[in-house]
């Protein structure tokens, strides 16, 4: 077995091919997509000697198992998890040589949600609009992995990194999302804005690559009616009619019709990708571009 490919033995709950995504096509209705925990994906690529744009595998909660048909260097990062090669423990967060035909198993996350598996040469499925990312919303890119699938690998370009220990951030026990005012903050009551800034939310189990859904006190609108469709950005906090904030992640739609109360900083979104359902969420609001909402004036008299 010398061909540069891998066979999927256990696809796991949801394993997709991801790279840096396909930004620049939002005006055609094409989501950006790409790895949710981008620093983790970039790190495992560096560890195996891949360029940053190489495609990796992104797993969800219970990992995946693959059998490379050629000898490859791999690295697993993101959510901490056990890694084995033919049943023998292998290091996490370091380059590992896997012989041709061996079974590489990325186990269930000990904490966090998404593990990243880089293989030297990268996953070399056919790119779509310059990206190999699976886009769950619009169905662009390769479908999620299924058992028995075979994925091509590219040629390894560089030697892997020589490292012993690579520090990686642990998954958050509390998810702190810094937020600036969004275009429709004034569609919400001052009370709702204070609720968002002061009350705790929790990560909902309905979260996915499209959005981090939250459970918590609903945000009441000051302006009723429908909002015509408008452009959306990564990190936009959209509030659907049930009043529970949804933070848009990589596969977010390019336009939407619910008001955006705020926008989460890009630097905070990698941690959002690793927050398990039930994790406490706090929105730290800095109303950078518009004045802070006035506190409600107490009514005088009875």
């Amino acid at each position: 077995m010398t061909d540069r490919a891998l066979a999927v033995v256990r696809s796991g709950a949801l394993t997709t091919v991801q790279d840096e995504g396909r930004p620049g096509h939002a005006h055609l209705g094409v989501p950006r997509s790409g790895a949710l925990d981008r620093p983790a994906a970039a790190l495992v690529n560096r560890l195996v000697g891949n360029p940053p744009e190489a495609a990796v595998l992104e797993t969800t909660l219970n990992g995946c198992a693959v059998r490379p048909r050629c000898a490859v260097t791999v690295a697993v990062g993101g959510a901490p998890c056990p890694v084995t090669v033919d049943g023998r423990p292998a290091p996490w967060g370091m380059p590992v040589r896997v012989p041709a035909g061996a079974l590489l198993d990325v186990g269930t996350a000990v904490s966090g949600v998404r593990a990243y598996l880089a293989l030297s040469g990268g996953v070399a499925v056919e790119p779509v609009l310059g990206s190999r990312s699976t886009d769950l919303l619009s169905g662009l890119g390769p479908p999620p992995l299924v058992d028995g699938a075979v994925l091509p690998l590219g040629d390894a370009a560089f030697a892997h990194a020589r490292v012993d220990v690579v520090p990686q951030p642990g998954p958050p026990s509390e998810l702190v999302l810094r937020l600036t005012a969004g275009p429709r903050a004034d569609w919400f009551t001052p009370e709702a804005l204070r609720t968002l800034a002061t009350r705790a939310y929790r990560v909902s189990s309905a979260s996915n690559r499209i959005g981090l859904r939250t459970e918590g006190p609903p945000l009441d609108r000051a302006v009723g009616g429908e909002l015509p469709s408008e452009g959306m950005v990564l990190g936009a906090v959209q509030v659907p009619p049930d009043g529970r904030p949804v933070v848009f992640l990589a596969d977010h739609p390019t336009t939407g019709g619910y008001p955006v109360v705020g926008v989460v900083r890009g630097a905070d979104l990698a941690r959002a990708a690793q927050a398990v359902p039930g994790t406490r969420v706090r929105f730290v609001v800095t109303w950078a571009l518009t004045p802070p909402p006035a506190a409600p004036v107490p009514r005088s008299g009875p």
């Binding site: 005006h27 619009s138 600036t180 015509p228 452009g231 950005v233 739609p253």
Partner: protein, 204 residues
């Protein structure tokens, strides 16, 4: 023009109506082409334009309202013709809403010249304006779980064509064989913002 905040790298510009949004969109593309404006994404929508991937959004936000926005220039390009069979299941409902006989719906629809105001919902799905003076068509109370690819539908003031099978609530009036989206083709999307479109009835 209202310039609204959209995070660290973006601005959302709100205009009075859809045609003002189209005019600003054209001007933004012109300035980007000449190098006066550096922005990664320019995303027009119903009455807004999103500028995403800006280095200094606050600086642009201060300048934008003083811009001179010329009215939408007439486009030199040809009108894109989409052959359509007017065989949709909601023809009668649309006719009733417009107060015309069913056979008039295809005639009215095919007589209009449309323009892609913006895209969204799915890759290659364009929101086409151009049906003037008719009542807006409400979405179906219960969306269909599957709308076939090529279905021509109406919703609000817009006409659209489903690029691939998907759930959808638009009122369906016809079918086209045109391939709206093919990622192996350049350009992948047949309908991009600003493109003029005419529907040409096919014999049934």
């Amino acid at each position: 023009m209202k310039v609204l905040p959209m995070g660290e790298r973006a601005l959302l510009v709100e205009l009075a109506d859809g045609s003002a949004a189209e005019a600003l969109h054209a001007e933004l593309l012109r300035r980007r082409a000449t190098g006066e404006l550096t922005v990664r994404e320019v995303v027009p929508a119903a009455r807004t334009v999103l500028l995403n991937g800006l280095d200094a959004p606050a600086r642009l936000a201060a300048r934008l309202p003083s811009w001179e926005i010329p009215p939408l220039p007439p486009r030199a390009e040809d009108v894109l013709e989409l052959p359509v069979r007017y065989d949709g299941p909601d023809l009668a409902d649309v006719a009733a809403l417009w107060g015309v006989p069913v056979r008039e719906v295809p005639r009215i629809h095919a007589a209009a010249e449309f323009r892609v105001a913006f895209c969204g919902f799915a890759p290659g799905f364009g929101y086409l304006t151009g049906l003037g003076g008719l009542p807006d068509v409400p979405r179906r109370a219960t969306p269909r779980t599957t709308v076939p690819a090529g279905s021509v539908g109406l919703a609000g003031p817009y006409t659209g064509v489903y690029p691939r099978p998907s759930p959808g609530g638009w009122q369906l009036i016809g079918t086209t064989e045109a391939v709206l989206w093919d990622h192996a083709r350049v350009p992948a999307a047949l309908l991009t913002p600003g493109v003029r479109v005419r529907f040409v009835p096919e014999a049934r």
